[in-house]
């Protein structure tokens, strides 16, 4: 079986600015992700985790190596790779339902069908009743729920998430972590979503992931891949699980050398 997402020997260099040296953001990064897997990219800032996500999304090209989704090489952005942004990136001139309908409409589905899909996903993320509100009228947590609904409603092969909860207050964050897992679960005869999740929070990565790709900075490299064997569904009890603490401790031990002040 071909992996859902394959990253093979990816290197990304940025051209030097005014006589400086070229910057190597990613160096020979390789791993693969299978269908339905939740994989986090975890590392200190400068480790290239967001760069890698942008390469997978197709906004930038690799300098060397390939990225493929379902066996097709990534060359440009496309609807098969949905993206959830840290700053939500909701269209401010569209109501919530219009935001969620955008992807299905672009797929050429009839308007009525798009509306049904949008309502279903707005309901799924728990913001029904706010369909006709504009993004600026809602809290950050609700906006991110809407952005999540917008991406998942479009049924991407791979869902990319770029620190989606970084700007959310800590209390809402825990709830939203569970919501993300629930929304990505198998439903309507579709398999569980394949997710690539960028974060710099160890707890978050352990709580959410099936596997965690640990990255080190300058240049960005993969230095460890950790399997997370916590029971599902993940709930508040998961956060008390001995394995949860063992894993967060182990990851902290291996990352803390990068947390030193420079």
């Amino acid at each position: 079986m071909t992996p859902k997402l394959e990253i093979s020997a990816v290197t990304k260099d940025y051209a030097p600015l005014r006589g400086g040296l070229a910057v190597r953001a990613l160096d020979n990064v390789a791993f693969s992700v299978s269908e339905g897997e939740f994989v986090s990219l975890l590392g200190p800032s400068g480790c290239g985790k967001s760069t890698l996500l942008m390469l997978i999304a197709g906004f930038e090209r690799t300098s060397r190596g390939h990225i493929s989704v379902d066996g097709r090489e990534v060359t440009a952005p496309g609807a098969d790779r949905g993206l959830v942004f840290q700053d939500y990136a909701l269209f401010p001139w569209k109501s919530l339902i219009e935001n969620v309908m955008y992807g299905p409409l672009k797929r050429g589905l009839p308007r009525r069908t798009c509306e049904e899909i949008a309502r279903r996903y707005i309901d799924l993320v728990g913001i029904s009743g706010f369909e006709n509100h504009y993004p600026h009228q809602l809290s950050g947590g609700m906006r991110q729920r809407c952005a999540l609904a917008r991406s998942v409603a479009n049924d991407p092969a791979v869902l990319l998430m770029d620190e989606p909860l970084a700007a959310i207050d800590a209390l809402t964050r825990n709830t939203l972590q569970e919501e993300i897992l629930r929304v990505c679960d198998a439903r309507d005869g579709r398999p569980r979503k394949t997710v690539i999740y960028v974060t710099h929070s160890i707890d978050e990565a352990v709580f959410l992931s099936d596997r965690i790709v640990l990255m080190s900075p300058r240049p960005g490299r993969v230095f460890d891949i950790i399997d997370v064997d916590l029971p599902s569904p993940r709930t508040d009890a998961t956060r008390q699980h001995p394995e949860f603490h063992a894993l967060t401790k182990r990851i902290w031990e291996s990352l803390k050398i990068y947390a030193k002040p420079e």
């Binding site: 906004f59 990136a89 269209f91 504009y134 917008r150």
Partner: protein
Amino acid sequence: MERGTGLSAEKKRPIGRGGAARTLATPSSKPPPQSDPVSTSRMSARQSRSLRLIMLPLLIVALWQLAAEFQLYNTVLLPPPERVATAAWSLLLSGELIRHLVDSLRRIAVANLVAFVTAVPLGILMGRYRPFEDFMDGFLNIIRPIPPLAWIPLAILWFGLGEKSVVFITLISAFFALLINTIAGVRSVDKSLPRAALTLGASQRDVIRDIIVPATLPHIFTGLRIALGVSWMSIVAAELIAASSGLGYMISYYREVLRSDLILVGMLSIGLIGFAMDRGLVWLEGRLLPWRTRLEM
């Protein structure tokens, strides 16, 4: 370049607060209402604001009239308000004021329409595609510092005295106001928005139509307000020289016959019409872009 006057910022704030209040509203499937429950107190706030707005003009008119009554200055050079009002009334009755006003307005409308349909698409392309901007920039930046009035001799050579020359001069000034604001608007679009659209299946063309244009509309509105403002400046100058009708022509005609009261009628008409048009645009923007309140908060 953000906006022509401070008026819009003041005007917007109450709307912004209304938006913030609605954030806490209970869920409802209907769109949030335009007016909120505190509208009575807001109404009186608006009335007292209108009162403050009109106070200084009234005071000036009163002092002016008094100064004229007591012969404190030469009333041939500056007739008292009472005479200006009489002159305005007679010009209105004879239809002369309306005729000149309509001529000027028509020229401004044509010039701004042409400027709009050329500058906005050009600005969107220039803002979106860097190489295209580099290609255009050298040329446009040499043309831009030339005052519209410096074009008058050439315009007369090309188009002769009359309508076309005046429209051309007005067009030049409106064009750059719109172009610069459109480019700035495209530049300021949050980079995530086109990216979000692309990952939802939009094509590059969809991105322009669905994302760049609506996201740039507030800046285009600002550009339009500035364009209308500079239109009045250049049209009057153009009409002084190159036309035989319009408010600018009217002013220069009555200068020749030394009717300072009628000159003042022309000047005040421009002031009032310009003000009304600007308010109209602000109102229209509030109606067409209700989501824009976000940017003011």
